[in-house]
């Protein structure tokens, strides 16, 4: 049976992971390569590295970071943040990424999704959507620039367009839930997941194992992103997957 994926997310700035990690017992908790390898060994099904660097100067180190992280990683590896052109994407693939995650650049230039999908395959093109409830909660709007800029686009409509332009997966973040630990937005996730045929990765709001079970069952997510829940030592990946397997969610287990 196809399992539900738990994807470990690393936020990286100037070559360093910027969120704290207490549980992994690493020599250097800020080293992306070491952290990615540790997550992989602990049972992560996939690794996402998001470059949150604000300046071009800091971004120069990204390719070196990707290369170093990819060298010892033999599970799928996605890189996102600041990829604006086919050339940016090519450089990241050459450095060892398997997929790129596009956000603002796809919103301002949707044809970029098609260009990347035609050259590297749809499986390599993830479109990330930052969605926020608007109009008193009646629908969801897609936001650009790290959630700072409203686009006026309905998140569901944008997801359908992204699929038609060649996206292979949707990485869906609930801005309302992000960082709250209050649980994923299952309503948002289900609305997108039932509207497209490509896999949907839920993100934002994870605070406990039961939140993951809810978003897989009620939200019909195909995968879920685990970021701060892993970084702050509240939950270990192994325990999380064990708990989900016990709850009847198909997991890659034993890892």
């Amino acid at each position: 049976m196809l399992t539900k994926r738990i994807i470990a997310c690393l936020d990286v700035d100037a070559g360093r992971v910027v969120k704290g990690v207490q549980f992994l017992n690493l020599r250097d908790a800020g080293d992306p390569a070491e952290l990615a390898a540790a997550h992989s060994a602990a049972g992560a099904d996939e690794i996402v590295l998001l470059d949150i660097a604000a300046t071009a100067e800091k971004r120069k180190t990204l390719l070196a970071t990707v290369r170093q992280t990819a060298r010892q990683l033999f599970i799928p590896f996605t890189v996102g943040g600041g990829i604006r052109s086919l050339e940016d994407a090519s450089a990241v693939f050459d450095a060892g990424a398997d997929k790129v995650s596009l956000n603002s650049a796809a919103l301002s230039d949707p044809a970029l999704i098609t260009r990347i999908a035609e050259r590297f395959g749809s499986q390599a093109a993830i479109v990330a959507i930052d969605a926020k409830r608007v109009n008193g909660g009646t629908h969801y709007e897609a936001f650009a620039k790290g959630g700072r800029t409203p686009t006026g686009r309905d998140a569901r409509v944008w997801a359908i367009e992204a699929e038609s332009r060649g996206a292979g997966e949707i990485l869906l973040t609930s801005m309302d839930r992000d960082g709250t630990g209050a649980g994923f937005d299952c309503e948002l996730t289900r609305s997108i997941s039932t509207s497209v045929r490509i896999p949907v990765i839920a993100s934002g709001g994870a605070g406990s194992a039961s939140h993951f079970a809810e978003v897989f069952r009620d939200g019909q997510a195909d995968a879920a992103l685990a970021a701060s829940i892993l970084h702050y030592g509240t939950t270990k990946l192994k325990d999380l997957k064990q708990e989900l397997a016990a709850a009847g969610i198909p997991m890659r287990w034993p890892c």
Binding site: M1, T3, R5, D45, A70, F93, G96, D98, E169, C255
Partner: protein
Amino acid sequence: MTIAIVDYGAGNLTSVKKAFDWLGHPSVITSDPEVVRAAEKVVVPGVGHFAATASLDHRGLRQAIESAVQRGRPLLGICLGMQWLFASSSEATDVAGLGIFAGECVHFPAGVKSPHVGWNQLQRRGNSRILAHLPPESFVYFTHSYRVPLVEQTVATCEYGGAFSAVVERENVFGVQFHPEKSGHAGLHLLENFCALPC
């Protein structure tokens, strides 16, 4: 003498090369038929549309691969490369596969999400050299929209909207629908088995 990773413009081959590097086996990414002819072993990877395999014909690579197979050189097709080992695909009916395995690749049925993306389990069927010493129900990473039928030479199946061939094996020719280079220990183990084959 090395492993030739055939580059015919279908996707990014860095990760396949990286896995062989990690295992300590020399490999080269090439689109030169002479390099393929001279290689000890041949890998045809690839992702994307079946039509992309037409460039194997245009570049003279089909003949080089056929020649390698005739001389008993081990050949491994990965994902689209595995589909190409079959006769044809409904994705591009005007493009001929290598035809080492009979049958046509077809799209997943309506009713399951497509592409099939993620970790799924192998079910072993019969003896296999490429799967030697792998745990019987290993999890491996798939990403594909078309699948190959079950054939006599199927040595592992996978279940998604019905059973399909995950691994086929005929003499020294092997095909895997998943990505061994992205399948953790199980995948590296399979690649090591391939490297260890006599040629």
